[in-house]
Symmetry: D2
Subunit: 306 residues, 4 copies
């Protein structure tokens, strides 16, 4: 009997999955803190055994969980941006002359997959200005460049190939990769932001041939910032069940082999994804802008970003 | 105990729901026919009792079920367009000088709700050409005009108010309303096209104050053409269960009151909705173009539609 | 010999045209004032004779000329919005229960013609909230609704027909029409905002069958707000000449009949029109928001407009 | 006194400029041929002296001039695509295992500059399918990949840096670069297609720091395909004059230093550029598809391109 696994790109959800089953997770540390209206959790995978069990590499995974971004006020909005910035800064070594390459992964034409391109559209990109228009730059702005390379189906090129090619050419001191993620809990869609220092690691067995984008493949630190935008249909069914049945019953149903193929193959996104992803992209972009450009303000950002 | 009902805009699914429960549905007739690769079902609601039970007015509801529009060849594509055209023509009286107003409902900025506006973008609109450029018109083209009035949240105006205002002014001999629908079965999303002669009737109790658009309110026949683009999350869960448990078990779970609020409030659309809805809009628009303009060809349509 | 006339939708430019030629313009009054960085001119056409000569109806035409909106700071941005609001308020009677219908003219799919639809996307629309969600409304917000009806070539319906149909139905106390304009001076493109109380009057002889939208046709006051986005190619040529030759020479060239047809038929817009029109739409929308909703702030607007 | 030069990216127009002035152009050969409704001109720059005078490198520049793409029928449409394909094939060595990298230059968010990205959206990209889905490929399809890297102002990276990075990584046997061009004659906008074997060479003195993309910099043959989408305002003025005045008079005016700065700085595009560039992108993309994939049909292309 094949045991159905639940797909998630969030380390926090993988961790919850095991703790719900009361399974041993030595080698994984979890710390919570709450800043007003933002729940922050840090999952640290410390050993190879834990990494294998979690299906994710050794490293730090910080998760911010926020209220619905459509209904927050300006003060909380700025607080979330600042918190994203702080977490990113924690993970990047503080070099004097930092130069950062930001990669917006995903497909601009598929709304649920367009987080990366939408974030790069809103970044304060400065690398060219150091020579072309230095008067636009305040002291302590980083050298930032950004590319949205497109997806394999559109370009015919593995994302990793393009990213490593650009990285070899530009030799940034760090890379930030932004991507839309899959969650298992619909309540996390565009409400959770995951920031990690392990890059993008599709992992074996997922059937997705997208290759790893990480310090191992690029040679420089790779921070990944992601927001869940999709949930598998079967996960919604499972979560519904687990609120009404006990685990044994729920597992039995899910491993019965009776679930229709069209449900197993169906990945969902909220019907309002257009608005939700726009709000997420803004907040992630501003978090990155704050992280990289010391003392930059929203007004400064408005001047750079049309 | 409140009994949870399953939301669907498809008469066929409502009918299936009752027949699954072996409930009496006298006053509803169902006829199937299959044209190669297109399953066609006609549900006819004949009595007020049946209408009340079905939650839909007396009238004819034709459903075409097609393969995934992304992977069909040109021959099947044309066959589907022709079949849509035939069904629409069956429902419209064949006047010599027909003038038709087409209304594209929905929100252009929310992909899953943009079927109506995307269809109107692809229509062969001719009303103005009879005076401005008659040389562009073949004999037997109808006088067609089309409006996408926008949604209440954007305009501040009930759609029905705008439509009836325009209808009173232009006095068309019939109205065709195009809208995105909700289904209960994810396999119907952008694979089913419903054509009915009862217009748009949101019905009491749905909590949606959008008012009726029908012959009763407009004074002329109103054909509605719809394609399901969303499914409630809770429906996915229910369909998963019903494939593994018996009805009593499944109903018990769903009426237990234990399903989390975020699932109850969550409406899903497929992650590739951008592509799926574009294909649907094309096929519905061409079906309407074929229905209204005798002998028009795809090449003729290309000349009108940029 | 046919005398070529220069096309402009700006009363100010028509006036300048006549004064450059030292022609009599009794019946037209012009007053200038300058608020820091905003030049404001009010042209008042007072007599039928002047109206005929100007090709524009009796009424008030206020023109704001601003610096390039891409490079202004937040303080000037707000000042321009406030000034637009003031001018609109001057032209609308101050009723206690005001209800306003805003019409965004133009074609959303043609960037240079999309000012109207882009403005309506950014308006604080409230009409439906008085019944549906009154808690969202501050005291002294007006009842505002907004429609972008589309253009004749897309809908098959004269804009005036749709607008008058909706107006008869909703019976607003005033209408504001927003549209992209033609100027004769390229320096006015997206730098000038014209606000007038005469509505939209395409005028005889322009060859454009779009009919009048005004108090005469709608029965309520009609304010038009427009921004130039296009200039005829031949006008650019003429303006270039008039900076180097005297009037007689310049006129002789332009009335020689030797100008190539492709130049006469060519209307230009700046290559960066996408950015320019977005900035204009934002500032016009916020001017209208400030005019209609007392004490509304940018933050309030952000909550209403996604 | 500085002599104003006229900007154009078309070798044909540069050549015409000199021949109008009856200047010597030895080292440049021009050959015309006309296929029904398509005028084709081949300009060949053969010597370094001619290259310097023309401001363009030694090589072949083929220009197709077509009727307005909005109004052509299907037969001419296909003929133009086939002709583009033929000209491209003439310039690419016919290797058995050809692998081609296509670069769509320009800014997707600026309509007049979006030719490159719009073309790459419509290409039959196959490189990944040789390993992932070989059943989708007919024999004699080339290995094609495509990237739209974005513009310097958005990415912070010189286009040439990204292109050469990707090129070094993928080692294609040839590169095709697609870009929007400037013309001097408005009648060429989206009616002319230039295909050359010299790549993209912004040239010294243009003030545009975009660096060369050519066989010299990339190490493999570089074909450039371009379509004019913009014309300088001052050029429109000059062309108007040259149709009414003699050259000496016209030159005197243009070199008088009296032309206003806002005209000198203003680059125009047609007001309908949205539609025009969409049509151009389709025809260029299909020309490239036909050139690279032997025996591919429009129907095959439809299956690959959503």
């Amino acid at each position: 009997m094949k045991i159905m696994s639940i797909r998630t790109d969030l380390a926090l959800e993988t961790h919850q999955h095991f703790t719900e089953k009361a399974e041993d997770l030595s080698g994984v540390k979890v710390a919570d803190k709450s800043v007003k209206d933002i729940e922050i959790t840090q999952v640290t995978i410390e050993t190879e055994e834990a990494a294998e069990k979690m299906g994710k590499p050794i490293g730090n995974y910080i998760t911010l969980h926020t209220p619905d971004l459509r209904y927050i006020d300006k003060i909380l909005y700025e607080k979330i941006c600042r918190q994203i910035a702080n977490e990113i800064k924690e993970l990047i070594d503080d070099d004097v002359d930092k130069s950062i390459l930001i990669i917006g992964l995903g497909n601009r034409a598929i709304t649920s997959d367009s987080l990366g391109p939408q974030v790069t559209d809103r970044l304060v990109v400065t690398r060219h200005l150091f020579s072309h228009a230095p008067e636009m730059l305040s002291t302590n702005y980083a050298s930032v460049c950004a590319v949205s390379p497109g997806v394999l189906g559109i370009t015919g090129i593995e994302t990793e190939e393009i990213v490593s090619a650009i990285c070899e050419k530009l030799k940034p001191c760090a890379v930030i990769v932004v991507d839309a993620l899959a969650a298992r809990n619909i309540d996390r869609i565009t409400k959770t932001i995951q920031i990690c220092d392990t890059g993008i690691n599709p992992g074996a067995g997922v059937g997705n041939n997208r290759r790893e984008i990480s310090q191992k493949t690029l040679g420089v630190p790779v921070i990944a910032v992601g927001v869940p935008t999709v949930v598998d249909a079967v996960t919604i069914a499972k979560d519904t069940l687990s609120s009404t049945l006990n685990d044994a019953e729920s597992d039995m149903i899910f491993n019965s082999g009776k679930i229709p193929q069209e449900i197993l193959n169906f990945t969902t996104t909220p019907k309002e994804i257009d608005i939700l992803i726009k709000k997420s992209a803004e907040i992630v972009a501003n978090g990155i802008n704050f992280a990289l450009h010391d003392n930059i303000t929203f007004e400064d950002i408005d001047i750079f970003v049309n």
